[in-house]
Every structure is written in C-alpha cells, then in structure tokens.
C-alpha cells in the first residue's frame, strides 16, 4: 500500500468504509413483509398442534372428571353387574382383553415376522407377484376394522371355520386386523439392518437361513417388538369387529378361550355401560375409559422405551 501514496490510500479507506456500512445494513434489514409471513406461518403451525393436543386433553380430562368417583382398585377387581353400578367393575372385561391379546400375539408374531422376512430377504422384487403382495399388504392395513368384523363373522364364526361365538374367534379376527401393521413394522425393522451386514455374513459362507437367523433377526428384534406392541395396543382398543364376532356386551364371569357361553373385552364393556339409561353407568363408563387409556399409554410407552433402549445405531 505504501507505493500508492496518501491520496490513493484515503480513497481506498473511504471505499472500504462505505462498503462495510452497506454490508451491515444488508445483514440487519430483513424486509418487514418476510418477517410477518414467517410469524404467521409459525402461528398457524402452533395452532394446528394446539388444536390436536386440545382435543386429546379435553377427552382425557372429561373422562377423569366424569369417572373420578368410581376410580379405585375395585374397578379392576370387581365383576360386572347390571343391578348395582356402584360395586360393578371391569375384572371380567380386562381378563377377556388379556386373553384376546395373548391370542393375537401368538398368531401375529410368527405369521407377521415370517411374512416380513420373506418379503424383505427372499422375494425377488423384479417379479410382479411379489410387488402385488407388497402393495396389497399396505392396502390391507388401511381396511376399516368393521370389514374385518364382517369377515370374521362370515368365515370364522360361521362358514368354513364355524368356530361359533367364542373368544378364540375374536382373537383370530383381531389378528387379521393387525397382521398388515405387524408385517409393515417388521419389514421396516428388517430393512433398517444395513446390506453390509448381509454381505459380511454371506462372504463368510453363511447360508441365507443362517444370515437371517443369526444376523438380521437379532439386529431387528427391538424394532419388531416395538411394532408388535403398537399394533397390539391398537387391537386392545378395537370394539367394532368384536361386536360382530360375538363379544357379548354383558358377561359377569371370567371368559375362557374356547368356551361358547360368551366373552367380552374392555372396550365392549365400556360401550355397554355408556348406553345404559342410569347415569351411574355413565360414570362407570368414564372410569373404564380412564383404565383403557392408562393400559394403552403404558403399552405404548413401553414400546417407545424398548426402541430407544435396544435399537441398534448403525
């Protein structure tokens, strides 16, 4: 710079000063229009979220307020009663739900995981029939539950299987309902195992079966378990299909899996209580809803905990 002389040096400084002034102005001056647009957009997002949460909160709070006079451990241990709602409980219904869910687990886990393994590890996706199966599994997951109820009534309770109105028929119907969800969740868990693990296993001379059994399934189990629990907690809350396949709305004894003298489930019992004329039964229904929500919340929380705790980070 020394060679430029004082005059040139002054010009240079002036130019630099002017430039830094404009740059500063550009840094701070976001147009007002953009600021407003941004704020409005954020407000809309928050409103959407708030509305969703508000609906849920209103439901829970309303149920707790309505049912609070009945909320006690007796609710879980007392049997149903049509005469005295004050001493009635959900013991039989809870027991029925547990049996139903156990049946669903026994049927959906092997079938769902097996289907997922076939679709992910064995199916040749260049073949049209495999793509058709994939598409249909996804479609089945979106079929309304009442359709499964009618299917259960026509094919399981009557028709080919002719099981009658037994709890096991309810389990099969609920299994059909959640199977697509279980398959999709299991496929996602299996797909999350990177291809490099398969290659590493095959390169050591492992067969496809050994690779699936010793590498892919162990790595995918946390994801599969999470998906299964979420699917099952959906099954636990289903009412419509059960009404069609014979979950009697009023049962005062503990049901059995194959007994043909009737069974019930928690959501069906709540439905029954809610439609009674006496207001005491409505309190009982509200208390039942609280029990139902707690059960489902606990199951879902366990699923999330399982995922966070055991999911493999690659």
């Amino acid at each position: 710079m020394a060679a430029l002389g004082p005059r040139a040096e002054r010009t240079r400084l002036a130019a630099a000063g002017a430039r830094s002034a404009t740059e500063a102005a550009m840094l701070s001056g976001q147009p007002l229009k953009d600021v407003i647009k941004g704020r409005v957009f954020l407000a809309l997002l928050l409103a959407a979220l708030g509305l969703a949460l508000l609906g849920l909160a209103a439901l829970v709070i309303d149920a707790v307020i309505d049912g609070r006079s009945m909320l006690s451990l007796d609710l879980l241990t007392n049997s149903a009663s049509r005469i005295s709602p004050e001493t009635a409980g959900y013991a039989n219904a809870i027991y029925g739900t547990i049996l139903l869910i156990a049946g669903v687990l026994v049927m959906t886990v092997p079938i769902g995981v097996g289907s997922a393994i076939y679709l992910e590890e064995y199916a040749d996706r260049t073949k049209w029939w495999n793509r058709a199966i994939e598409l249909n599994v996804q479609n089945l997951a979106a079929v309304p539950s009442i359709v499964y109820g009618i299917l259960g009534l026509a094919f399981i309770v009557r028709g080919p299987l002719d099981l009658g109105f037994i709890l096991f028929a309810g389990s099969i119907t609920l299994s059909l309902l959640v199977l697509p969800t279980v398959i999709i969740a299991a496929r996602e868990a299996i797909r999350a195992v990177p291809p490099s693990i398969r290659e590493g296993s095959f390169a050591l001379g492992a067969t496809r079966l050994q690779t699936v059994r010793r590498q892919i399934l162990p790595a995918a189990i946390p994801g599969i378990a999470t998906g299964v629990i979420l699917a099952v907690s959906r099954a636990a809350g289903e009412t419509a299909p059960l009404l069609l396949v014979g979950a009697a709305t009023f049962v005062t004894f503990d049901p059995t899996v194959f007994g043909d003298n009737g069974y019930t489930a928690l959501p069906v019992m709540i439905f029954n209580n809610a439609k009674q004329a006496q207001p005491e039964f409505h309190v009982l229904a509200a208390a039942g809803i609280v029990v139902m929500l707690v059960v489902i919340l606990v199951m879902n929380s366990f699923a999330i905990w399982l995922r966070n705790r055991y999911e493999q980070k690659w």
Partner: protein, 300 residues
C-alpha cells in the same frame, strides 16, 4: 485343519475345489521367497477366460482374461466405473446376490468351473473370503464377530483358540485381548477393518478378496493393513481392488489395469482389461501407453 477332512468328506458341490484348497498345506512357502515372480511360475488359483459381467443385460465388464496365482497379492487398479469391484465380486460369487447380475465366460478355480451347475455359492464363499470397502463388523462382541464364521461352519471345538489365532493373524490381538466381550462398534475404523480381516481368516479360506479395504481409513491404519497383507500372503492368496496406485505398488506382486471403454455413440460403458503383468513392470515399464498415462497420473 482338522475340520478339512470333515468338510471334504461331505458329498456336496465344490468338493473338488476344496480338496484342491486343502492341498495348499503341502506347498511350503517361506517368507520373501516369491518377491515379484514372473507370471506362470506359481500355481493358478483363478483362470478367467473371456469373462463378461452383465447387470440386467448391460455389460459392466467385457472380455476379461487373466490368471491369478497362489500366495500372490494381485491388485486390480483403474479409474472409477471400470468394473474392478464387479470383477472382484465374480470371484466369490457375491454377484449372485444381485438377481439381475449375470456372468458369462469361463472362470476356473483350481481348475474347476466356479459357475458350474453343481457348484454351491455358499461353499465357494467359505473358501474365498471377502473384506469390504467400509468396515462392516456385526453388532456383536469382538469375540462373537470372529467366532461367527467357525460357528456357522460347525467348528465349535477350541473356539477360543481359533479366535485368538485369527486376531493375532490380523495383528489385532494385543489391542483387544482385554475386551473381547466389548462391542465391535467401540473399535476405531482401522481396528474394525482388521477385525473384519480376522473374521475372514478365522474360517481358514484359500483366497481373500479385498474391495478397497483402506479407502475409509487414515494413513496409519492403512499402513497397518498393508503390512498385514504382506504377512497374510504367506498363507493366503489375496486379490485387492484399490484406487490408490501407491498401495498397489507397495503391496502387490501382480497388477491388472482396467479401463472404461465406450461404444461408438457413448451410450454404454464397460470395463476392459488393458494390461496385466508383474507390478514392477506395470509401474516402471508398462507395455501399453494407456497404462503408462494412468500410473503416471496423466489420466484418471
């Protein structure tokens, strides 16, 4: 080698190949004996005769003919997309895992057709191991990673000893002997790659294929793996794909240079073998002008 009898005893495909492999113990190899030997001196492990590999009918490499020899490090070099990895994956039938892949031509392994109708790819991969570009340890303990191969082969006797030998063979034992039950993901990238090599040698293969084994590693880890390759070739035959020409020059005995070839209207491209010779010749006095341009850094 106690299990070799048991393996050979089975009446399964690839038996002749394994008998041939078992025979390697009879050949005494002393360290340093075969520095840059001329082609044709040592026994052929692979003979490739006019190999084409196609994906969905489109050629990825065309007309590859070369012999790969026992206890050599054979390097495949060339620019990206020239089909080095594709060619490597033919050698242990990893391409079979891609449904659209197809291999044409003749590929002999110890004289037996590797793609013959009775050959089982699973048996092939027990004899011809592979180490990948990115270290891919299993999400298990260090011990279980190395023990996986012997376990699936049913060699559960002296498993501790097998694991220790493999880890020593991969120059990893001293670093991990106190934490064998620790998760393999806790190791550094270089250690993970040596674990993958240990995992591979634990099943006592005949050949080890390495697909750019150092491209994800730092120079120090790379140096360790290169030293290891020179150690391992006493016992195994190694084929390595590398982008790094210095690496090929440092570790290999023979080098194959592949290049991308285009058809007249430049719609299709495939890999073609340009030159295959002793590494020293490839890097100091190549016969083909294109090889010279590539190794001197003028192209690619």
């Amino acid at each position: 080698m106690a299990h070799d009898e048991e393996r050979v005893g089975n009446t399964d495909p690839g038996r002749a190949a394994r008998e041939a492999a078992a025979g390697r113990a009879a050949i005494a190899v002393r360290p340093g004996e075969f520095q840059h030997s001329a082609p044709g001196k040592r026994e052929k492990v692979f003979e490739l005769k006019g190999i084409d590999v196609l994906y969905s009918g489109v050629a990825a490499v065309k007309g590859i003919s070369m012999d790969i020899r026992r206890n050599d490090v054979t390097a495949l070099i060339g620019p990206s997309g020239c089909g080095k990895s594709t060619l490597l994956r033919c050698l242990n039938r990893m391409n079979d895992l891609i449904p659209s892949a197809e291999v044409k031509g003749e590929l002999l392994y110890h004289g037996e057709d590797l793609y013959g109708p009775t050959v089982d790819p699973v048996q092939v991969r027990k004899l011809i191991g592979m180490v990948f570009q990115k270290p891919n340890p299993f999400p298990k303990s260090i011990y279980d990673n190395v023990a996986f191969g012997p376990r699936i082969l049913g060699n559960k006797e002296n498993l501790d000893q097998t694991v220790e030998q493999a880890l020593r063979g991969a120059a990893l034992w001293d670093e991990v002997k106190d934490r064998l039950e620790g998760n393999a993901f806790g190791l550094s990238g270089g250690q993970q790659q040596r674990l993958c090599i240990a995992r591979c040698i634990a099943v006592e293969p005949d050949v080890i294929l390495m697909d750019e084994p150092c491209s994800a590693l730092d120079p120090i880890s790379t140096g360790k793996i290169e030293d290891l390759m020179i150690e391992l070739k006493q016992e195994f035959s190694i084929v390595i794909v590398t982008h790094n020409m210095q690496q090929a020059a440092r570790v290999s005995d023979h080098t194959a240079f592949l290049m991308v070839e285009l058809d007249a209207d430049e719609d299709n491209r495939w890999g073609r073998l340009v030159e295959y010779d002793e590494t020293e010749k490839i890097f100091t006095n190549p016969a083909d002008k294109r090889t010279e341009d590539y190794v001197s850094g003028k192209v690619g």
